[in-house]
Amino acid sequence: MTPPSPTNTATATAGTAAGPRLVEGRGDLSAAVSRALRSGTPPVYAPAAVLKADPWGEDLQLALHLLYELHYRGFDGVDGEREWDPDLLRLRQALEARFLHALRTELSDAPRSVDEAFAPLLVEPVDLSDSLSHHLATEGELWQLREYAALRSLYHLKEADPHVWVIPRLTGRAKAAMVAIEYDEFGAGRADRIHAGLFAELMNDLGLDPAYGRYLDQAPAALLATVNLMSLFGLHRALRGALVGHFACVEVTSSPGSRRLARAMRRCGAGPAAEHFYAEHVEADAVHEQVVRHEVIGGLLADEPDLEGDIAFGCAATILVEDRLAAHISGAWERGSSALRTALPEH
């Protein structure tokens, strides 16, 4: 956590307590958002800029991320009331529409049933040679684990927060089960076991700064898209099915991947907290997988069978953004480049 600065505690108005630092824009849209937040004014942008922006590009994904962050921790010096500023929400709606349209277009041939969407995830492939986590487990070097952790910190330091948005939109079995899983994610009543806190300890072991939002400026669009996807689904009641499908996809694939990442941390001598984070997820997510499939998805389908297509879409969208991220990371490392926008300092 960044400590509050002395001037902030003396003069801060409600909602401007020190939070993560605002970052510079990467194009017209994100620059407009950053400027609007910094100066307390409406965003200034050409409507054509929204229509022309690459939905997968740095500018749109950063703009979306900055706007979503107003619902999480906000930014240092930015009034908390901006969270519901209609001018910012209008821009966000336009950006979301571009992102969602791109997802639906790319996934127009994806499975429409829950069974078809999840069946491939429930089978362990024999050939893991293309898997990023397999590479990290068997050959990954410490600098790669540090980059991986810095990238994933944009999610893990708020682990589970994007998923709990769906709880008010669920009822009955699905609600009870979702809350039970999230209770686990948030430490089962114990603050020292909150998963986001365990990840901060992992970052300390790797010599990374665990301050929230510290690596936002270095995170490429491919990473931001994975986090924006969660906020997009979580913050829209109409997309509650997609959030459940996304969440189930994450929980189903987590346990074996976490086992490989725990092995990677152990092999590279990352430290006990680094290994513990992933070891805990091997066991926790083996449980969560069963509960999310049978009770959250099962309960939601019993109550709202028409949401089956959305659940399948949420799963497919998660696979899509994660595959794009893995391709970005592998591609960068194969070229001998950093997977971050600027490399981490030597450790």
Binding site: D115, V123, S254, E283
Partner: protein, 85 residues
């Protein structure tokens, strides 16, 4: 993976004084926590998790807790990349 509501899970109410466990086909046994498991060597493994997944395939590396080792192996395309835990 249910694509239709699972009648067995929904229709049979839990008896107040019985601990209900759920047997997953080709998977773990789910038991409401806290759970203590007495192992072959006499040691006791304990979990306080709200639900515990007990390994039935005997392949778990974190036995007695499930680690998804029961999953069927198949010669498929490389895995959809590991999602966030």
């Amino acid at each position: 993976m249910p694509s239709a509501p699972d009648p067995a899970r929904r229709q049979v109410p839990v008896t107040a004084d019985a601990r209900r466990v759920t047997v997953e086909p080709q998977g773990p046994v789910l038991v409401e926590g806290p759970v203590e498991v007495v192992l072959d060597d006499g040691t006791v493994a304990r979990s306080d998790r709200f639900v515990v997944a007990l390994c039935t395939c005997r392949r778990s590396r974190t036995y007695p807790w499930c680690d998804t080792s029961h999953r069927r192996r198949a010669r498929t395309a490389p895995p959809p990349e590991d999602r966030n835990p």
